[in-house]
């Protein structure tokens, strides 16, 4: 499924407001992570990122750096207003929240409990599954009018060619000044020529792959 709970990381590394900047940065480096939820008495009270910590400490090479790193506490630098996700949020809703607020992670909260964390790389992994990029296939982009039944017509043409669809995504308003949609379809075939011919014959432009240099999909 494509809910936050299916893509989040469940083993969340956390720190407390009393953790020093030095300890938190070491944890980030060793575990190769960038965000740490901050817990106090089991309850999430903030979020700290390696960037926040670096921004608040003297630069590398500065003689005061080590002392400052030991003195600064996570509680001093953490963000307290945190966007969170619910495990049952659709992944696309979480992605939209991260994109609009320009943030790299969402702690996942169920009731009072921190149950997971979702970062941009988890969303990327979900995208890979969503487009079926890990399965062998041929990628086509097809334009079709934004009206009931046209995607079914496209799928029917693929079916009539006896080809399985690995994945399908469709983006509204991407074609012809917004009047049409573009579907990205991954087909389980090494030989999409029959499908392409039938689609174009039925009036569905195949935008990708380009058939000639400078032909459709000339943007390559």
């Amino acid at each position: 499924m494509l809910l936050v709970r299916d893509s989040m990381v469940r083993e969340v590394l956390t720190v407390s407001p009393e953790t020093t900047a030095a300890e938190a940065l070491t944890l980030c480096r060793e575990k190769r992570i960038r965000h740490l939820p901050v817990l106090e008495g089991g309850r999430m009270v903030g979020l700290i990122s390696d960037r926040d910590l670096r921004a608040s400490t003297p630069a590398l090479g500065d003689a005061n750096r080590a002392a400052a790193l030991d003195k600064i506490r996570v509680g001093d630098e953490m963000a307290r207003e945190i966007s969170t996700a619910d495990p049952d949020d659709p992944i696309e809703q979480a992605a939209m929240a991260m994109h609009e607020r320009k943030i790299g992670c969402l702690p996942v909260v169920e009731g009072e409990d921190l149950v997971g964390i979702l970062t941009t790389s988890d969303v990327m992994a979900a995208l890979v599954r969503l487009v079926g990029a890990h399965e062998p296939g041929s990628r086509l982009e097809i334009a079709f009018p934004d009206r009931p039944g046209s995607l079914a017509d496209v799928a029917g043409i693929v079916r009539d060619q006896g080809v399985n669809i690995v994945s399908v995504l469709s983006a509204p308003g991407e074609y012809d000044g917004g009047s049409g949609s573009v579907a990205v379809i991954r087909l389980a075939t090494i030989n999409p020529t029959g499908v392409v011919r039938s689609l174009e014959g039925a009036g569905f432009p195949v935008l990708w792959p380009p058939s000639t240099p400078g032909g459709p999909g000339q943007g390559l």
């Binding site: 062998p136 041929s138 990628r139 075939t189 090494i190 030989n191 999409p192 390559l220």
Partner: protein, 386 residues
């Protein structure tokens, strides 16, 4: 450079095909072999018939449940619903009679070729029916049912502990099946040069696919822009493969010589000519002598212009494998026989005429993009090879 060369072939291998209008037509092997004969390239050579691969051979890289289903499929003993789980019975990989027997013989051919070379009975060996590089552990894919190169490599590793094998794949499609089978393995270098997965099946084969765990740095990919022509193809090949092979230091080179990067191929968008199909084998041959005592096994692969491209590409391949000059003109008897069946006019020279393949309008951009790919390859992947 004059050791013994062996052509592994048996008419039984020509049973591997899917029938009807399917693009993978075994006639291409028949035409290639008759062209070798017609050009006089088989004088003093005979065909060595392989034995079929055993279940144990196949199980080095395939699951037993998959093998059993392929066996049943070819005798009409399995329901389509079971076969579709393994991507058999699809448009790409339709069921055909005795398909297990035909596929197992292909695997046996490539295993035999490798054993002859590794055992010293031959210096080089060719099995044009091999090269089914898309087959996965439990899945048929892209016209490939069993992965002959994968099984042959796995067998060589068992029979020669510590052996280092370089697999070099210049088919227009990414050699994904072989890559994934040895993705963790630092003793098997997989190198694939192909049309970028953005445009072509199977979609994988980016520069960043470089191996996993202990195998990081031992999977190499050079994805090319569509409409890449000879000069850029050869430049990319020369800028990446020789250095990679020298760093790796193979004991044997196994090359997959699919010829579907040709401009006439109906399934891909690359635009090379027969020049590439002489250059690639010639250089692999030289590198085998430079690096591993000449131990080189070549197999076929894709190639779907079966009339004008495949026979000439693979005759040129055999000429190199067997240290013979490729004659310039096509044999009249061959042209007469196949010309009657061919839907297209057959070329009367063994080599394409460059003037018939002028640079495309966007050649400079294609070349530039390919150079970026080479630069990325040299920066990110090549240094990982010790």
């Amino acid at each position: 450079m004059s050791g013994r060369s062996v052509f592994v072939h048996d008419p039984g291998l020509e049973a591997y095909g899917f029938g009807g209008e399917h693009p993978f037509n075994p006639l291409r092997v028949r035409m290639a072999i008759e062209l070798c004969e017609g050009l006089g390239l088989m004088e003093g050579y005979s065909f060595l018939a392989p034995k079929p691969a055993t279940d144990d051979d196949l199980m080095t890289v395939h699951s037993l449940s998959y093998i059993r289903s392929v066996q049943k499929a070819g005798h009409d003993e399995a329901p389509l619903s079971e076969l579709l789980q393994y991507c058999i019975g699809t448009q790409d990989n339709p069921v055909f009679s005795k398909m297990h027997e035909a596929c197992a013989l292909v695997v046996g051919g490539t295993i035999e070729a490798c054993r002859l070379v590794m055992g010293g009975e031959a210096e080089h060996a060719l099995c044009v029916s091999g090269g089914l590089h898309h087959a996965l552990r439990s899945k048929a894919s892209g016209f490939c049912v069993y992965n002959d190169a994968g099984a042959a490599i796995a067998r060589l590793k068992e029979e020669h502990p510590g052996i280092r094998i370089a697999y070099v794949d210049t088919d227009a499609h990414h050699g994904d099946g072989v890559q994934w089978m040895f993705y963790d393995d630092p003793d098997v270098l997989t190198f694939s040069m192909h049309e970028s997965g953005r445009y072509l099946f199977p979609g994988t084969g980016g520069v960043e696919e470089k191996g996993r765990n202990g195998g990081v740095g031992y999977s190499l990919n050079v994805p090319l822009q569509p409409f890449t022509q000879d000069a850029s193809f050869i430049e990319c090949f020369e800028e990446t493969l020789p250095e990679a092979l020298r760093r790796f230091g193979p004991d044997l080179i196994l090359s997959q010589n699919g010829c579907d990067a040709h401009a006439l191929d109906p399934l891909t968008h690359l635009s090379t000519t027969t020049r590439v199909y002489e250059h690639v084998p010639r250089r692999i041959h030289e590198l085998a002598h430079e690096l591993c005592g000449g131990r080189w096994v070549a197999v076929g692969g894709g190639g779907y212009d079966i009339w004008r491209v495949v026979p000439r590409a693979w005759a040129a391949l055999w000429a190199t494998v067997s240290h013979q000059e490729l004659p310039e003109t096509m044999p009249g008897a061959w042209l007469a026989k196949w010309g009657r069946q061919s839907p297209v006019a057959l070329p009367d020279l063994t080599r394409d005429i460059a003037a018939n393949y002028p640079p495309i309008g966007r050649a400079a951009q294609v070349e530039e993009r390919n150079r970026k790919t080479i630069a990325e390859f040299k920066r990110k992947v090549l240094p990982l090879l010790a």
